[in-house]
Symmetry: C2
Subunit: 160 residues, 2 copies
DNA sequence: TATTGTTATACTCTATAACTATA
DNA sequence: TATAGTTATAGAGTATAACAATA
């Protein structure tokens, strides 16, 4: 029987190591055409791949403040991967859309990132991979739910 | 049967969400005495809790460059949590040690961090917790091994 | 007046390259 | 000359608070 405390300890211990490992694996990927993207940038482009969003939506979705997202979008726009236009229907809002270049950069980098991590994970045997996948599923579901709750509270004005 | 690619995808998708969730959980912990510490700072103090290290050792252990570590140590020293003295045996090296204040800050913050994450994990049922723990064990072992290899290569001069 | 987004400010984490001090 | 560490420089991610534009 695993108690929550032990699990928390292991998570806190594992998280920074994994983060550095993954960042390093991504950084070492030689992407011929584009500058390397960070994990966060890949994730933002991924979110925008399916549909356009306002800045606020993207910030909530990504789990950061509007201020932070505004800065991150600056970078994506500067690189030419995202376009920023004001919504005619409500000119306070901006519509963020992937450009063609952004779509290409994302496709390429996403693939490279996946390959880098896939290489790592191929070192595991079947049982280990099974365990890892299950654990990640649990974690993913838990935090997604948590984030949705927080976003809901933010809307409902849980401010102190 | 779980293939490595799917596992890599899930890891890439899960990692940023978890990181934000954990950071947020830590940030919301009200620590009465000390300023809140970041995850990385807690980890550094934890490493130094057992024994003193040189800057280079600490950098390798934490998985960053000496430059980065030098900066991180600046902050810890400024806060009064770590002492930096030059090694009499080889004055190029620096001995990093936890101060009493650092020991206290770590104990306190580490506990708060664990509690914050424990609360989160208590939302899982027994089976889910079991799965999460197993998955984290696999991930932890994999990345630890990887990091040890990289550190070994760095020593052996695999630079190019 | 309320909402959306940007900017000013400040901090942490990160790396490469140039540099200092020591061996 | 080689090694340990610091500093100069640069960039990304982060937040709060003050602000501008729009509704």
């Amino acid at each position: 029987m695993v108690n929550a405390r032990d699990c928390a300890r292991l998570l806190l211990e594992t998280l920074p190591i994994v983060r550095r490992g993954v960042r390093e694996a991504m950084r070492l990927q030689k992407v011929p055409v584009h500058e390397p993207l960070t994990m966060d940038q890949v994730r933002l482009l991924k979110i925008l791949r399916h549909e356009s969003h306002s800045l606020g939506e993207l910030a909530t979705r990504h789990g950061v403040t509007a201020s932070t997202m505004s800065r991150s979008v600056d970078i994506l726009v500067r690189r030419g991967w995202v376009s920023r236009t004001s919504d005619p229907a409500d000119r306070r809002q901006v519509i963020l859309q992937l450009t063609d270049g952004g779509r290409g950069a994302h496709a390429e980098m996403d693939q490279h990132a996946e390959e880098a991590i896939t290489l790592l994970i191929e070192e595991l045997d079947d049982l280990e991979r099974e365990k890892l996948f299950s654990g990640l599923e649990v974690l993913h579901a838990l935090l997604e739910r948590k984030q949705a709750e927080d976003a809901g509270l933010a809307l409902a004005g849980g401010g102190s």
